[in-house]
Symmetry: C2
Subunit: 111 residues, 2 copies
DNA sequence: ATCGTCAATCGACGATAGTCGATAAATGTG
DNA sequence: CACATTTATCGACTATCGTCGATTGACGAT
C-alpha cells in the first residue's frame, strides 16, 4: 500500500532514521547486546562497571534506548532495572523493509 | 559461536554501529529508497532534482552509501550511475542479529 | 583547443551528539 | 532527621555530521 513512485515523504524518512540512530553508536550497541545476553534485568550500576564508561553516559544511552523501546525500565527501590525488550528488537525494521517502504511507520513502537 | 558472556568487543560494536549509521539520516533513507523503487540506475543529477537537496550533499551521501555497499556506482561518460545493491540490502543485519551477536562482522560487505 | 556539463572535492558554518564531572532528586538506613 | 546510595539531570567541552557554495577535475562536443 506504500506506493510512492517518487520520494519517500520526509516525515517517514525521519522516523525510520530515528530508529536506526538508536543503534548507530558503538556504546549503545554494547549496552543493548549486554542486556540481551543476560536476559535478566540489570541495574545502571552493573552496566556502568561492566561497560567501563561513566555513569551519566550510561544513563544517557539507556534513556535513548528506552525512547525507542529497545529496553524497558522498572524502578525498584533506589535503583532502576533495565532489561531488553525482545518484542521491540525482533520487530525492528530490516534495511530491506525500510528501503522498500514496507513497514508502516510506528511499527517498532510495539509494547 | 559468538558467545561473549560479558561485553561485546569494542571493534565489533563499532563495525555494527557504522552500518546502522549509514541509515541514520533521513536524506540518506530517501535516497536509498528512491534507488530501490526505481530499480534502474540513476545519475546524480536525477537524484539531485528529485530529492531537492544540493548536488554536493547528494554526492556526499552517495559516497557514504557506497562505502557500506548499499549502492553501486558505474561511471558512464561524464556521469555516474548509482543503483541499489539488492544483495547488500537484504543481508543487512537485523537488530536482533546485532543484539544477539549472530552475524559475523563483515557480513553486510557482500558483493 | 575551448567550452559546457556533470560529479567529486574542498572549506566553512551551524547543529547535533557523546562524554565527562558535578549536582540534584529519590529512596532506603541508622 | 541525618546520612548513604543510586540514578537522573545539568553544564561544558569536543568531535562529528549535514548542508551549502565554490572550486576542481574529467569527459564530450563543437
Amino acid at each position: 500500500m506504500n506506493e510512492h513512485k517518487g520520494l519517500l515523504p520526509r516525515a517517514e524518512a525521519e522516523e525510520y532514521a530515528s530508529w536506526f540512530k538508536a543503534l548507530a553508536d558503538a556504546t549503545r550497541i554494547q549496552i543493548v547486546s549486554l542486556l540481551a545476553r543476560r536476559r535478566a534485568p540489570m541495574s545502571v550500576g552493573e552496566i556502568v562497571t561492566t561497560s567501563g564508561v561513566g555513569q551519566s553516559t550510561v544513563s544517557h544511552h539507556l534513556k535513548i534506548l528506552a525512547e525507542v523501546r529497545f529496553v524497558l525500565v522498572e524502578k525498584q527501590g533506589t535503583s532502576s532495572l533495565y532489561r531488553i525488550n525482545e518484542n521491540c528488537v525482533s520487530c525492528f525494521p530490516t534495511a530491506a523493509d525500510v528501503v522498500m517502504g514496507n513497514p508502516a511507520p510506528g511499527a517498532p513502537t510495539c509494547e
